[in-house]
Subunit: 201 residues, 4 copies
DNA sequence: GATGAATGAGGATTCATTCAT
DNA sequence: GATGAATGAATCCTCATTCAT
């Protein structure tokens, strides 16, 4: 007896998630070239060919992985940042929240930190598309916030510099080789914002 | 008549340099896996086999490249940093000098930024060896300087945080995807040091 | 519908046999180094990559070939030798049977005669493992028999000498460069055993 | 000042001997394919290119090695075998002398045992030439002797069988994997000749 | 939807041989 | 005569992708 469309959709969703999660895991250990399609299949507990049923090719798996994790990440961030505190406070929140998320989903954090860097080399054709994704989901929201701070005078450096500074500090905190300690986080935020807004928060 | 030992030494040195420079160039465009030995040879204007005459294998080429570039880099930095200015001033100099070098030798800068992160995946066996190289040539000199600042009270955050902060800011400036503009550099240094020493320099 | 596990098992067995048989054939003509993986694949009518699906590498193919042929050989011999005739008669049977098998499966015979001698050079790491295989499947059974003959007094020379003598005569008969003629076989056996047991059988 | 023709000849002879001896040594450890020209040169203490000054190519080195060692071997044997003892006694002498030589020049013995076997595969074009060398230097002298024994009635089996038997026993004794012990040699000869001439000598 | 057998293009590496000096 | 730098053809092996079932 054939499955209902509804059942098919559910299976589809489940399988794709299985594959993407497996990819995340294998990627963490082996990097892009070390992530063999067979290893993904094995980790996902599926047949090797099935991946090609749900994804066009290896590239498609990884681009999908970016999409999937970015959108989840964005949601998680939005919960925190759409408040009406002062800009500096919200930036501080973003830093803290991002660190917390990086700890909780360290594979995702690792994936973005390393993979985004390699896209120009791995998928030269799709750089724009991926940059666009990051822009929408990560950089723009933060930039908008900083812009607001610059306009209100809270932030004392130009927008571009402020943005660069913020992300430097952010990536410095979640660097997967030396993730910052929970206990140092407050001081980190304070030190970082000092540069931006001229006082320790 | 056979060549003299001296002539042979000169040839060898020249060839190794040619190969390493070619590697740097190809790596910039293609990344580690995209860097085919044949492409290195072509770029260096040499036969493919010659690379294996001078280097054990591809891994050896890259490890040698780390060594070679790191030692050069260190020399260039030392010229600037071994002065007797205040710590903050010297840190500022390091930032500026590193940025200048990153602009001048952008392939080297790109190489270190990307390759060092992949070593764990590419050469798991040699991570320690490579970390050691970075430690000696990069981390330690800067850490020593910051330590000094902490001891004299110039730097107002703990050593570890200070170090992390400094490198975050450093990497934020030379990030190969968006290298900082020459004209923003002073303000960048100032912003950065504000966080560390509590005043804009 | 995917194939049943049973079907897959059958395919695998068949393919491995195909590959090993092809190897045997190519080896006969080209020797170990001349046996290119591509030639094996071509001879087996399979894609080159498939060999690596079933065997780890070239070495694995050859070690498997030893195992496979030795076990078959042993079976064939056992049929003949587990009788209760006098030792000399059984040794004679072994000689004859081995010659018959060598004629029928001359590629296998050639393979063992040549390959076993090269293992020390080809796979220095696995010499022990292979020697063990020969010991169990070939030498021990014969040695046991000769031992019996020595104990009953049928054989008039010490065990070790007897063993060496028997194998010398055996290899002398099946030497692939000049395989002994069917018609000379009886006299050969007789001549050989004369040395061992002191009379022509 | 140019060398005299005489000096040149001496150098030439010396170099060729150096190369052939080095080849023998390396071959013992690595086999034909493992014997790299560079390793020969290194072992001989000469430059890599010089080998090609004295020999056409790798094949030529090995063919020359056969010639060189065979002729030396023949001389050594002739001293012993050109006596007027009975055939059986002379065959026994050959066995013993060959074993003694095999012990003394084990690299040469190893070389012939293994290399002669592989010629069909390594140099298919020159098989005839090499067989001819063995025929003249080894097989024929022995065959002639056995022939004599058959004619005088000393040897009780047909020529071809006798020859095969003799060489089987010979190779059984000097097998490089298990060279016969000095102390077993007399009994070995006796056992062997028993098969041929019907009595222990 | 699902499986895993099958393919072959692609890339690292080796090594006999050549050649400028 | 002598050296060792240089070459590139040849070969092993990997792995994304396809396909019969």
């Amino acid at each position: 007896m054939p499955r209902s469309p509804e059942q098919n959709r559910a299976i589809r969703e489940k399988r794709m998630r299985q594959i993407l999660e497996a990819t995340l895991h294998v990627y963490r250990e082996r990097g892009y070239h070390g992530t063999e399609m067979g290893a993904i299949a094995r980790r996902a507990g599926l047949g090797r060919g099935l991946i090609y049923y749900y994804f066009k090719d290896k590239q498609d798996v990884f681009i999908s992985l970016i999409r999937w994790t970015l959108s989840g990440w964005k949601e998680l961030l939005e919960e925190v940042t759409e408040t009406d505190q002062p800009v500096a406070a919200r930036l501080g929140e973003i830093l803290k929240k991002t660190c917390a998320l990086s700890l909780e989903y360290s594979d995702v954090s690792y994936f973005h930190q390393t993979f985004s860097r390699d896209i120009g080399v791995l998928f030269p054709d799709r750089v724009d598309e991926v940059v666009q994704l990051y822009e929408e989901n990560l950089w723009r929201p933060v930039r908008t916030l900083i812009q607001e701070g610059v306009e209100t005078g809270e932030i004392q450096v130009p927008l571009e510099l402020g943005e660069r500074f913020f992300f430097s500090v952010l990536f410095g905190a979640i660097n997967y080789e030396r993730m910052i300690e929970e206990s140092d986080l407050d001081q980190w935020v304070s030190t970082a914002l000092y540069g931006l807004v001229g006082r320790r928060e």
